[in-house]
Amino acid sequence: MKQDPQAADKHTLFEDAQGFIFGTAMCAFALVMLKDLGFITGQTAGLSLLISYVLDAPFGWVFFLVNLPFYWFGYKRMGLRFVLKTFVCVALISVFAELFPAFVSFEHLDPTFGAVMLGFMQGAGLMAIFRHGGSLGGIGILALYLQDATKFKAGYVQLAFDGVLFLVAALLLPLPQVIFSLLGAVVLNLVIAINHRRDRYIAL
């Protein structure tokens, strides 16, 4: 294996840094717009949005706190390097999500356009984070941990979590917002399902 820092198979520290800044800025910008539209999304980001609506709490802080318990499972299952990368990504999103509203606000944002576009943007951001070996913590880690411990499939844990989250949201938020949120979540997951392929983007 080559040790050349420009080798194709391994990202350099700088490359990971620009990948994470790109990915977290993209996700945070999308989350700021989701919040503007009153939408949610799946996983811990969605839970945090819902909590921030119900309690009128700042999303960045809620997201940072909600993710804290999951780092332990991440450390047990994926190792220190992964947990550190994940912690940095979650922290960056929390900070960006609190900062961005000072720099940008919307006069008008069409809900259908918003749902699709934000699915694209979150998908782009998450994919960059995954391709650089990070994550946004949360349920995914717990799901993998549970799969190891109980043989219960990780995908079903995540799906069950999102199912419950959207059901609760349907009780708490206006129905159109929940339906647009579902559309956005479907777009986001399609972007990742179609494009996140280790056999095509091969660097680690």
Partner: protein, 203 residues
Amino acid sequence: MPMPLAPQKHTLLEDVQGFSIALITTAIGLTIIAQLGFITGQTAGLALVISYLTGWSFSWVFWLINIPFYILAYFRMGAEFTIKSAICVTVLSILVAVIPDWMSFEHLNPLFGTVAFGILTGYGLLGTFRHKGSLGGLGVVALYAQDRFGVRAGVVQLCFDAVLFSVAFFLFEPTRVLYSLLGALILNGVIAFNHRRDRYIAD
């Protein structure tokens, strides 16, 4: 390390979704800088300068400017590339025209907008290139000049941008041009660091 023996070709559906994502993010980036009155490089930058000076819509100017380049592209790069480019340019022109109806800003910090443009449009171009499309224009001329006169393609593109930004300094306030330069720098950084055929290997 997973090393596939034969990297697959993108299917039609994969190309369609790739171009959809790429063109929408590119268009959002352009909508942001158009709102701020900034420019960028290449034919998109030239089209922005012309639209600011004449009041004509960016979309029409951008679409028309690219037409002469298709002829060269057809002879130089073949029909598939030319058709893909024409579709990308047309869809992008339409998106930039309609997005302001779907998204408008109450407040937009110029520095934030500049960085957002660089990241969004850089990402969009990266997606366009990875799916073997282009946004037409200068790249083809640059490649032709390289073959015909031995001038390196990158140098041709750099010269074009240098002239464009120099002219812009005479036409617009310096802060507008400096923000524009920063945006172009970030956009090119996103592409330079991430567009690697040895990492994203699908055709």
